[in-house]
Symmetry: C2
Subunit: 458 residues, 2 copies
Amino acid sequence: MAMNTPRPLSGFPELLPAQRMVEQQIIDGLRRTFELHGFAPIETRAVEPIQRLTGGGEIDKEIYAVRRLADLGDSGNDDAEGGLGLHFDLTVPFARYVLENAGRLDFPFRRYQIQKVWRGERPQGGRFREFTQADIDIIAKDVLAFHHDIEVARVMGEVLAALPAQVPALRLQVSNRKLLQGFLTGIGAPDVAGAMRVIDKLDKVPTEVIGDLLRTDTGLCAEQVKVCLEFAGIRTTDTSFVERVRALGVQDPALEEGLGELAAVLEACADLAPGRVSVEADLRIARGLDYYTGTVFETRMLGYEALGSICSGGRYDSLASDGRTTYPGVGISLGLSRLLIPLFADGTLRASRNVPSAVLVALADEESRDATNLVAQALRARGIPTEVSAAAEKYGKQIRFAQRRGIPYVWFPRTAPESEHEVKNIDSGEQVPADPDTWLPPAQDLTVAIDAAPSTAE
Amino acid sequence: MAMNTPRPLSGFPELLPAQRMVEQQIIDGLRRTFELHGFAPIETRAVEPIQRLTGGGEIDKEIYAVRRLADLGDSGNDDAEGGLGLHFDLTVPFARYVLENAGRLDFPFRRYQIQKVWRGERPQGGRFREFTQADIDIIAKDVLAFHHDIEVARVMGEVLAALPAQVPALRLQVSNRKLLQGFLTGIGAPDVAGAMRVIDKLDKVPTEVIGDLLRTDTGLCAEQVKVCLEFAGIRTTDTSFVERVRALGVQDPALEEGLGELAAVLEACADLAPGRVSVEADLRIARGLDYYTGTVFETRMLGYEALGSICSGGRYDSLASDGRTTYPGVGISLGLSRLLIPLFADGTLRASRNVPSAVLVALADEESRDATNLVAQALRARGIPTEVSAAAEKYGKQIRFAQRRGIPYVWFPRTAPESEHEVKNIDSGEQVPADPDTWLPPAQDLTVAIDAAPSTAE
């Protein structure tokens, strides 16, 4: 196919092979942790009826509609295709999947889902039009016990703690809707929901402006504003937030319940990975307009705070409902692209080589290709990724070819039955006799390592 | 979110968790084989400019166009969004990716790519609107040696041979464009391309009709038609096709070259997996309108021939070109959804359980949850997927819960420091003392097995 040289599409990031190998390793790590905790994998189709995506309400500009090209000109043809759009998260499709398959699932149902999602928004720092999310949710019929809130926090905490050491430290910030809601009720706020929405903007808007908004838009008096801002400023890495809230002297049953739940989450996550993942109670966190009803999560990457939260979620009293049965749920969504792409872009995360191959088998001449292939097959049979030189060029050139790709070993097959095979370590230059049926590279060379060295020798 | 009970969308298949676990295992197997051969993973964005998808030519009805919902009413707004469509294969995006990143890739470049693709066609047996493909390609600058044709055949052959034993036997059918093209040239066919297109329909259209078409539409005489049909009827599992072609007495240099290449592919794949994957020369295979120039592949699944080819590909002299450099390539695409979904539908492929968990840790009472979680953590720390009972119901009920999910073991934590933990094998009913720091289930119970038993105990 003849083409002009194409240019990247803004908001649709693509990775180079070395970066994709790092992403794959990280995804494999997530899957391992999720499955160790009994979370089952699902994938949902990329499209949903637009009606479902918009919740039957107002049309959302961020949705990508999908139509057969032949039907694009026809207006009013939406029904023929069902009026489809690309999903913008994994929660709406999961809720639909649960309703559709409720009779074939066992509850509480734990699932993980790692997929692309699409949003038609303006691309900007950390925001993409196509990106990968990794979601876990636990969903039950009618009632979901609180201990599952602790469970998802713990599982996602373990996932974050197991990220490569090059990923900057992460701060999992937890709060509970009942806390802020109960507190606002307890101080007699006239518009609790409005005040929650204002307080949720605390990390984007100066505190004085928030104070003004609370007064003018939500009808709080000066004393109420003061105590609200004191409450929202509470941030602790242990359960001492409980005493600090109590010191404000506000009484409310929901507030008490929220304090107990949040303290339980903090305690369960205390031993995660000190220095790598810190967990803290942060009473500002309210998750804006989302329909959370209890525990809420956000996550910041230290040094990359401008990205916003890279891992968010919480508890819904009703993740899905078909009118007869209600499905409460709790879940967290890791923004994998939002986390990784800035780290690829600034070189924080990179692979030790550009190909999976640990060994390049050198080719003496084209006539030896079959025998050379047998050496490669012997190595592969023992799990060593191996490629054979494309052409029987001078050995120096073949070695430089391996170097350019970051392949750590070059294998020289024996040239006569009585001679020996030899293998050269590109890094050290050392070359030793070796048997293709027994030789193994050190474990750190067997698979692609993260950031052991620059990804090319150039 | 309150919703009506949703119905599946025709042509957009979704898997149950147990099926997805099987698909994941199979994809992991593909990745392992591809990477052992040095193929690097890439993913491309889901969308391409429509102009690129249509090759600048006529608009293809099978393409799904993608537009921001807010822009759907506007005609002539294509440029604002670049006029995007969902990719319908992985070849067009790969060609574009190579051109876009040519300066950052080392050639010959081996890549694998496992992704969803979308086609707006009528859903019917084995045809979907959203489906997963697994592609491998090797691409070079200017010249790609023939031995890479053998390499991709061999790698995909190994992949097919490593599929679960429940997958029916597969027949990899290979031919070479040069053969049919050279043969038609050698007999003096006036319209070689037209005759190739007609012969390609041999598996859908009766032979007599093909004969008539060759006469009426491509200008062959009766004697030429006869020898053509004899040629196209040649199918051998070894290199004896060479003698049978030569016996037809047609001379042509391209024919000779094709015979040599095809014989080399057959020889290299002879030892793959007798009984599981057979490889044969099938001289009818021409791959219709595709731009192949040498080796061509198709694959049939025995007993499922109506699905058509589940794994196809071949050699392009120009997979991509930017006007200055031409990139020849050779590749094969495995239609993973087309292969797996019929086997899920008829129960040929199923998982031994519905969740990853190998162990359910029973809960004596809610007060023991923390201690019970520690047992689960000890098991997970040694790679055993484990979940804890959601509620402290009677043990009989907890055991039935495990049974329903197909979890093979239930763990009963000790109730006092001086008592012992016990583990029950659900299948045998045997219950024995066990230590969470040393106990291991048999390997076949550790991960989900394929079709060891029906997926539920009901």
